[in-house]
Subunit: 405 residues, 2 copies
């Protein structure tokens, strides 16, 4: 790396509005019966390079198909998002309504509809209330001039209990470049993308190709490394817009710095999603090392992080390492039962597949904390992975049993 | 099929002791702190043909490895089972202890240790209390003469709330043949075998090869078609012993009748396991039809049956078909979102991927019942599958958070 680049990433405030040349707003249009904010707009002053990663669910929602189409050229100018209604399983009318959302947004912003990314989240199988959507987009557009990023972050929430924003800056050739983002998550979060919304802005100048690859890399390390309940949804996407307003081109050595900044924004947003997991009382980092390869490590880590039995044991603050080993064992990862080590924090509880004496007080301390790290060393190779998850409490059941259609 | 065979299967009482020439008992040896029964013996008067299907978990327990070895010759005489301790993650000493269980059983029954199937279920990572095991096996052996099948069924329980037994008979050439079984399950039940114990007896005379294939067929339709929480355990097995005491050879047309009888015993035991799912308040049958093939149908059905969001919605008695469609969509099955139909009972809620008007009172009735059937027609091909699951209640979390190691 060249000496001109200070790869030190600095956290800054401002979320999606931390980078120069973006505006955002969030309003209540009445889609949500609660009267909470439900329409967000995010607009770049200029046409931006853009890329996105979408849900892999085969029953993807109408806005997912539309946004994919609009991003074929690697460019976008605005994102319109509604919460409270997913516009999924809504057939031909759903497709038309997604298109209308783009058209309305384009009209009020005086831009091309193809430059609009459309995103929806909420209840499945109900047509969008288009009059409310239209009024809401117009209202949101009127608030852009002095718009507040936090309003947009709030307007994309569903069962989230707090808005999620994060931003960083780094220096290239003495000039500051910024990357910011907002996300929504809560339940239904699992690796393999899907099941959350995140929108990232940057004032770096980045080609669509580099942006696409950088986003993919970051998403693998962040949104695809978290899990709340293993379900993947019909709607979700992570999109990034790079408008170049910092004047700094991301090329050569700067690519690495940009990647790191984008990683950090995506990872911190992903972690906030886990922290806000439905009913979560614990934040758990699952490390798997010594796997045959990284892919195997991720399979084992995901199996552990997704296990209801593991997650309820953490809620119960119990050192039930048996459930952890069993989950690794039924994952498709290579596992030799006589080689597995398991650590809670720094305390080793299992060595070469057999329980060892450990300091119960220390393990108790680990389990009582809100943030817990566990490590499973498969002792087979050099593969490793890190996955974040939350525990599984009564409130998860409550929230999801009482969320009525 | 020949006219000599009455393929009508009749339910009879007696569980594993319904077939002739078997003895069973169950005693409390003190492995369980509760003082409940924890050692079961199941013995055939003569050496029997035997077959078993074992957990696919790579961290399989010591008794699994031993029993596999003992079944290589397709013969067995006795099964010894302890509950309260899984003898899993117990290393070399665990292997030795499993062998000792076979040796002690062989000694008290005056048979060969290789004729003994050994099975354990319970806590992971703790060495078996061998003195209690030894005393328990001897005590159980002493009770075989007037042994009661229900005692054995009780002695294999862990978090189960009731013992699970089932038996049937059918006629071949005017003679009665019987098939009976017992099972334990509760949490950690998921397709792909593993995570439950079931022991089936029959007085049919069956070659080891036919027995093995018949068992595999039955397990696919029963224990591999249920799910409680998606976790698969380290220990579990389904074993069948055929001692020939009815004098009836299972060959030619009788193979089909035997298969049906074995299917019925396995399916009914599997359903009992789901009904006793930890915290379950509903019994749910998930039918998937119109899939590209049967394997695809099973993938979609399992994704639906394993979804925490689907299961909590049933607990909440909510017709949240969106979660069902989303689960089918993220399964690896082929799904065309514009072709999917969804039924609750006989009421169609979704047609060609779009919500339709339905009789809300009828759907409400379906959801309020204890037994619920849903159907997802993918409208793509002729593949179908049926999977049984239960809902997901507060008590699931309670049981699993409070089950301390």
């Amino acid at each position: 790396m060249s000496n001109d680049i200070n790869i030190e990433i600095k956290q800054i405030s401002g979320g999606v509005l931390a980078p120069k040349g973006f505006k955002a707003s969030g309003v209540a249009s009445g889609i949500k019966q609660s009267g909470n904010k439900d329409i967000a707009l995010l607009v770049s002053d200029k046409t931006a390079s853009a890329a996105a990663v979408f849900t892999t669910n085969k029953v993807a929602a109408a806005p997912v198909f539309l946004s994919k189409k609009h991003l074929v050229d690697g460019k976008a100018r605005a994102v319109v998002i509604n919460s409270g209604n997913a516009n999924a399983c809504t057939g031909k009318q759903g497709d038309e309504n997604a298109q209308k959302m783009a058209d309305i947004t384009a009209e009020v912003l005086a831009i091309d509809p193809d430059e609009v990314i459309v995103s929806s989240t909420g209840i499945i199988g109900v047509q969008l209330p288009m009059k409310k959507i239209e009024d809401g987009i117009k209202l949101a557009a009127g608030k852009l001039y002095n718009g507040i990023g936090a309003d947009a972050a709030e307007a994309i929430m569903t069962t989230d209990t707090f808005p999620k924003e994060y931003a960083v800056s780094f220096m290239v050739n003495g000039s500051e470049v910024r990357v910011g983002g907002m996300a929504k998550g809560s339940g239904m979060i699992e690796p393999n993308m899907a099941t959350m919304l995140a929108f990232v802005t940057t004032d770096a100048r980045v080609t669509a190709d580099i942006l696409k690859q950088s986003l993919k890399n970051s998403v693998d390390k962040s949104f695809n490394s978290i899990t709340v309940d293993g379900d993947t949804s019909t709607n979700d996407m992570v999109a990034v817009l790079a408008n170049g307003e910092s004047g700094i081109e991301i090329e050569h050595d700067a690519v690495e710095a940009f990647q790191e900044a984008l990683d950090q924004v995506c990872i911190e947003l992903a972690k906030l999603i886990v922290r806000d997991g439905e009913g979560a009382t614990k934040f758990i980092e699952v490390n798997v090392t010594g796997a045959a390869d990284d892919a195997d490590a991720k399979k084992a880590a995901k199996a552990i992080a997704n296990s209801n039995l593991v997650k309820t044991a953490f809620f119960g603050q119990d050192a039930n390492w048996g459930r952890i080993v069993a989950a690794a064992g039924y994952s498709s990862a290579e596992v030799d039962k006589d080689k597995v080590d398991v650590y809670y924090g720094d305390e080793k509880l299992l060595e070469s597949g057999q329980p060892v004496d450990y300091d119960a007080a220390k393990v108790d301390e680990v389990l009582k904390a809100k943030d817990i790290k566990i490590k499973v060393d498969l002792n087979l190779g050099k593969g490793s992975a890190r996955v974040w998850t939350c525990d599984f409490s009564y409130d998860y059941v409550k929230i999801n049993a009482e969320y009525h259609t």
